[in-house]
Subunit: 77 residues, 2 copies
């Protein structure tokens, strides 16, 4: 099963957004996953990976929780 | 810096409790930590570790979020 990591910028105050994405991912895919990790970062980072592969990056993609879950689902399947 | 893992029983529906502990740990210690992971488990597990060392186990300790944060803080310091 897969590991999801949500790296977020601590000084930017992105923690609640990270918890929101975490909850949405768990709502949809909890039984398909081993773990979901919140990773403390900085410099504006907000990045979601599945088994190390990026599926969302704030610097490249618009923020859309449902879209992130779809990307995670595709990678996990 | 340290890694905290919160392993919880998925079939028992312990997810929200795990997120509550995660949030309390982050509120208190976010800048002292590398990551806080939710680990999907079963068979009634609810266990918190810091760098692999158990600081709370449902089968041994009463459930007290503030107490768990104190235990994590002691291990992280």
């Amino acid at each position: 099963m897969s590991t999801v990591e949500i790296e977020y910028c601590v000084p930017c105050g992105f923690r609640e957004r990270a918890i929101d994405v975490q909850r949405a991912v768990l709502n949809a895919l909890e039984t398909d996953l081993d773990r979901v990790s919140l990773v403390m970062g900085d410099h504006g980072v907000f990045r979601v990976t599945v088994d190390g592969a990026a599926v969302y990056d704030k610097h490249e993609d618009d923020y859309d929780v449902d879209g992130i879950v779809r990307q995670v689902r595709e990678r996990v399947a």
